[in-house]
Subunit: 330 residues, 2 copies
């Protein structure tokens, strides 16, 4: 259980402000502006800054200090935004954080190039904190990028396939989403000088947090009471995305329900007016309960891993973050 | 002067074969194939492998051995191909090395993702050779990527601008082309354990070689006797590219010639049938001689820097490479 939640939230807000402040300076007045104005646009466009905070908390959890990893924290946010910019091109998305996506505000070429340079800046910032022997930090970072690319590629594959299994889906999100959170924890832990045992627990925490986080994203998309992240309720169903909920529903449904669910896959999505119908099918099949249990299972795993860490203050930050994130309503 | 050119060419061919062999294995049978088949396609599609060879020769030139930098050599080729894949999307190019470009053979999303993962693999391979203290190697590498992105961004800017100066053009190619060759030399030299003085000379060699190389590319595009790289003669004029030759011609031309040249910029290119007319204008204005002098000037700078290096064998490789490359007819 998170101890002193109020103090945690104050600390989170304070540290995120520091990160925001650093981020706001990276590309300010940098030349050529054709490259760095778009970089600034995406980096200062908001976001919860969970990944940088994970780096800070993980460093603390192995007995180090925030000040040793601020640049590394900035690095993971640069990397995260690189993935967003390139994903948005691939998904042909119009909006991100209620603002025009970068390739819509500028153009596709600019967005490709901006993403590329964000990656390079991520390495640059990581190096600032990674010390004399940055080998492990760079390896975690690089392996993280490779996993994210693989996950994104699997995600694109699944769009074209009719028969995705839940195991395959979990593998995909473990790479596309969870690997980056795992990497954040590994980076904070390794730069902080954590032991092998601590690193193992930090990575387990990050990975399971990431799995729970993505499943909750799937869940809130349809179960949420109101719009979340500016997307309409049931957006995943409308787009025909093979989420955990849809795949689980396809697995357990029979008869008429099954036929209706197969239509989602067959037609690559549904009409907006049919969202409620499918929400009722999910309810009928107990999909919301199953998903909540699955989220709780990964959350428990994350918390158990966090509990094994040495530093009480850092441990508590990670526990509070998990509870805060996974109790989120939007 | 290159000593024993025949022996040099044998060595070049032998080492390039080794590099090719390593490259052919990187992505073979790797999963997901939706990501790694395209990676294999671009990496095994040919190319002169100048950049990996620069890494090898630079390591040798500071007294190290080829075997210490084969992975670093693969890394720079991965990085080079990442830039090609993303540039081809931005330029909407159909062909590369007489094969369909990656985004034409597959799709834009796949090409973006393949480029992204090539970058990560580049870091991965660099780390294999960069030793216990990879800080400098990673820094050279990362700064190289940033410069290439900046150069590409300037290049895109110039397409939209009417009034590019020769100084601006040189700044652009020093980032877009020369920075990567400079980086290859710096990587080979630093992993090879070169002194500060040696590194300085290696970087100067690489940078000036890159400048000469790009200017020669501009020159051969219009002065070449036949097609080079599968492009039609005068392709740059047809596309309205602001090359050194066009900018220099605009600078020195007067009267009717000047009016004709302004049309190239104004109309964003010329008709294929007018290439010969412009070739004659260039001849009339002495542009070919001016360009050849400029190429010779950068080549001389590169060779002078190479001559200051300690290791005779490595020094000779770099000298032979420069003479071979810059004497190229296609």
């Amino acid at each position: 259980m998170c101890e002193n939640e109020k103090k945690y939230k104050q600390l989170y807000n304070r540290e995120v402000k520091k990160i925001e402040n650093r981020i706001s300076k990276i590309f300010r007045n940098k030349i050529p502006s054709s490259l760095y104005k778009p970089s600034e646009y995406i980096m200062t466009g908001g976001g919860k800054r969970i990944r940088p905070f994970l780096v800070l908390a993980s460093a603390k959890a192995v007995g180090s200090e925030f000040k040793n990893v601020y640049n590394a924290a900035v690095a993971v946010e640069l990397l995260h935004n690189f993935t967003l910019v390139h994903d948005d091109i691939m998904d042909n998305a119009d909006k991100r954080r209620n603002l025009p996506t970068l390739h819509k505000k500028y153009d596709t070429g600019t967005a490709i190039l901006t993403g590329d340079s964000l990656t390079a800046f991520a390495y640059k910032y990581l190096l600032l904190d990674a010390g004399e022997k940055p080998h492990d930090a760079i390896t975690f970072f690089t392996d993280g990028v490779i996993k994210v690319c693989e996950g994104q590629s699997l995600d694109a594959d699944f769009e074209k396939r009719k028969n995705v299994t839940i195991a395959e889906y979990k593998k995909m999100i473990s790479q596309k989403t969870a690997a980056l959170l795992e990497m954040c924890c590994a980076i904070g832990g390794t730069i902080g000088g954590g032991s092998k045992e601590n690193l193992k627990n930090l990575k387990s925490y990050g990975k399971n947090l990431g799995m729970a986080f993505q499943l909750q994203d799937d869940y809130l998309d349809i179960a949420g009471e109101e719009n979340h992240f500016g997307k309409p309720i049931g957006g995943d169903l409308i787009e025909g995305k093979k989420t955990f909920l849809l795949l689980k529903a396809l697995e357990v449904a029979k008869g008429k329900n099954k036929n209706e669910l197969i239509k989602v896959v067959k037609n690559n999505g549904i009409n907006k007016k049919d969202v409620l119908k499918y929400k009722l099918i999910y309810k009928d099949l107990g999909i919301f309960e199953i998903t909540k249990k699955e989220i709780a299972r990964y959350t428990r795993k994350a918390l158990n891993a966090a509990k094994k860490l040495n530093n009480d203050e850092g441990k508590n930050l990670l526990i509070c973050l998990a509870e805060d994130l996974l109790g989120r309503k939007k």
